[in-house]
Chain length 454, copies 2
């Protein structure tokens, strides 16, 4: 066992305790009532950075939640790696479906259950613990590092977007590591070769100028909820095809190698996903392999519909206004801002007569294709091999990490997307968890990665 | 001015004060947290009945909210009239749209604003005040009366249904008066010649066994919200046609006279309704006159959709479960229980692959056609003429008053549906109001009606 591994083993309890303290802070970035918790979570991360020996630790004020920054630039002649994570988490509703309180970290069967356990406090904390171990054992880091943690990853990421674009020189580096992704199973490490982008919108439909009684008006009154149903069914049909004119015209053909991998699915991802979902059949565009559908096909999902009466019992209201939260996942070849224009046109064309419609852009982020042939990806590949005993697979992820595209575009450096989540971690859902074994392996991998970079 | 009119004028302040006290009690029958308020509102009505000299006043316990009963049977040889009203009210959300607090009666421009001001506390109270005036002035009533007030009209009416079916002999009478309907304008009195029935359901769609992240699963995951949109759009198209096999087969042809009235719309109801809604065009089945659409055509409305994320900001969840509250208005020739079977079959047939669906019957009530050729309708017609100076119009109402069909079926007596609401009273919506002038005229009409019956 290396000195580094020994340090990690001896400090397991402390590492876990530090993670649990962070997890207890309900840092939900989208809910205004948690503003103070957001500051608390940022401060906690900054204190951790100071404690392990990172220099220049500051909370960078923004128009939203603060960024946490720290650096260690004493490895003369070595490359600089920018380490990214986020300290904000998703909302927790429906709370009733959680087996333990969402902000009380609870260890069961080798997993820690808590909102943020995986996404992304657990993964961000393991990066900090890798730095701690390296500094404690060697008194120095093998490379220069900058750490940048944001608090708006689940809320559009506007502040970090603005900061990176405004001060790219403050983030000067040779590579970035984003630890916010998954492995296919606990035995098969992975590096992400591509991400989908995201466009999140709200569609508001207005009918009469006030709520109406369905007995008196039903038959002649516009019903915004019904209009939304029609509109949504026209935008995406039961076979998963989107009817957004112009959208499919802009898609590029994926590489032969990737298409082959998607068709063969040698790791049986599709079966695993079907099992996790507990469904008999997968939905969507059957003419594309399941992996292509989730990794690079554009999709449209409804996340919630607002309006009318949703309490217990019955109310025969025809609401004046209804809204739908609708997002699209986009392959890297589609710009979210361009798709918004197409989407808005399609919504207007699909809206039935008798109601008015307005589409709001909530947030968007670009997808990414990651080249594999650079020293950073090679260092990451080697680190995963050393700890997991096998080469990583290069897979795409259907989720959106807008910061990855931003780093690539503004900083112009390789973006290593290496994470240790597992498919059943329930991120964005009740009972989010993180495997403790993945947490500790992740610390070792990140330390090795930085050593390999040095 | 008759002695009766003088009494009413001299007691205006007291009548209003009594109404306001009743209105302040938030008797929302569908919300369990208002159970105590329901009892309070029932007790208040019983106290009023005792105060004005009605005998045998009791709260009849039920499995739900109590019935309020009273009788005065001292008019030997005279007919008996059953007077019906309800003391429960609709929920008040969205509260933010109320100009004054929903349970603080506020008088503005000759109207009293409060939840229940019109539907139905205001209309029930005017019946009690007619009894008070007659008893105060004459020391007796011109007919025998029974008063029966329920607390579940907005919640399915199960208890009164059970009571009427179980103890029809306790409600023995020669006619019933239901004061829970509208007039076309404040100058044109109306009697209701028909009502639509109602079927209220909840449709639940289940997809994966847990909520999913749309980045990871979007493209292969069933989305119950999208499935509901497809399903709803298949049940009712953008032109207002229902696709419920068998439903239209069972419709009877309305009478020529009614069809003529609907086509001509001599009182310009459709324009008035369009104006109230503030819309440029009416929606629905353009091949039928607007009055036919709201008065007797079957309709389907979505009242609310539950599931996913509807808070501020963005959450990219694909919910495991979504539900829609869907009701149908039904012409008198369709039985709600039979339509439920057709509806359930249609929902199952319209559900896209990959999700499971279940339909719950929430409540239902039958429609009604009222014959005009009986002494009770003639007494009501005369009373309206005496107070309003013109004959009433005989119109249908699109809303559902299941108790009317029940009285007709079980008690076998004429059902007089005579109310004093106005089309802009905002029942079931924010800023419900009742015209004070209608309230006081209604007292005089009901007193005259009972005198005419005597």
């Amino acid at each position: 066992m290396t000195q580094l591994d020994t340090y990690i083993v001896e400090h397991k309890e402390q590492f876990l305790e530090d993670l649990q303290q962070w997890l207890r802070i309900p840092s939900i970035s989208t809910l205004p009532e948690h503003a103070e918790d957001m500051r608390h979570a940022a401060t906690y991360a900054a204190d951790q950075l100071r404690h392990i020996g990172i220099d220049e630790v500051t909370l960078i004020q923004t128009n939203g939640h603060p960024l946490v920054y720290g650096e260690w630039l004493k490895a003369a002649g070595k490359p600089t790696v920018l380490l990214y994570g986020h300290y904000d988490v998703q909302p927790v509703d429906p709370v009733a479906l959680w087996d333990s309180p969402p902000f009380e970290p609870t260890i069961r069967n080798g997993n820690i259950y808590c909102r943020g356990a995986c996404d992304d406090k657990g993964q961000a904390m393991l990066v900090l613990k890798a730095l701690e171990a390296l500094l404690a054992v060697n008194g120095a880091l093998p490379v220069n590092i900058r750490v940048l943690l944001e608090g708006e990853e689940e809320a559009g990421g506007e502040s970090i977007d603005h900061y990176v674009k405004t001060y790219p020189e403050r983030l000067h580096c040779d590579a970035t590591l984003i630890c916010d992704t998954h492995m296919p199973t606990e035995d098969i490490p992975a590096l992400i070769s591509g991400l989908r982008g995201l466009l999140y919108t709200e569609v508001e439909v207005r009918g009469a100028r006030r709520d109406l009684h369905s007995g008196t008006y039903g038959g002649i009154a516009p019903n915004p909820l019904h209009a939304l149903a029609i509109l949504i069914s026209r935008l995406k049909d039961a076979e998963g095809h989107l009817h957004i004119p112009g959208l499919y015209d802009k898609l590029l053909q994926p590489s032969q190698i990737e298409q082959e991998f998607w068709r063969q699915d040698p790791l049986h991802f599709a079966d695993a996903l079907r099992g996790e979902m507990g469904v008999a059949q997968l939905t969507g565009e059957v003419e594309y392999p399941p992996l292509e559908r989730i990794w690079t096909r554009p999709t449209l999902e409804v996340h919630g519909i607002i309006g009318g009466f949703i309490g217990e019992g019955a109310k025969t209201v025809i609401p004046a206004i209804a809204k739908a939260k609708i997002s699209l996942r986009l392959p890297p070849d589609l710009k979210s801002s361009e798709v918004f224009t197409l989407f808005e046109q399609a919504v207007k064309a699909a809206t039935p007569a008798g109601v008015e419609v307005a589409v709001s852009y909530i947030h968007g982020g670009e997808g990414l294709v990651v080249p594999l042939d650079n020293p950073a990806m090679q260092a990451a590949t080697a680190a995963l091999r050393e700890v997991f005993g096998r080469d990583p697979v290069y897979i795409r992820e259907g989720g959106s990490i807008p910061i990855a595209a931003l780093f690539k575009e503004i900083l112009g450096v390789p973006v290593v997307l290496m994470g240790f989540g597992l498919p059943d971690d329930n991120i964005h859902a009740p009972n989010e968890k993180y495997s403790l074994s993945q947490f500790f392996k992740g610390i070792r991998v990140v330390a090795r990665f930085l050593e390999n970079m040095g």
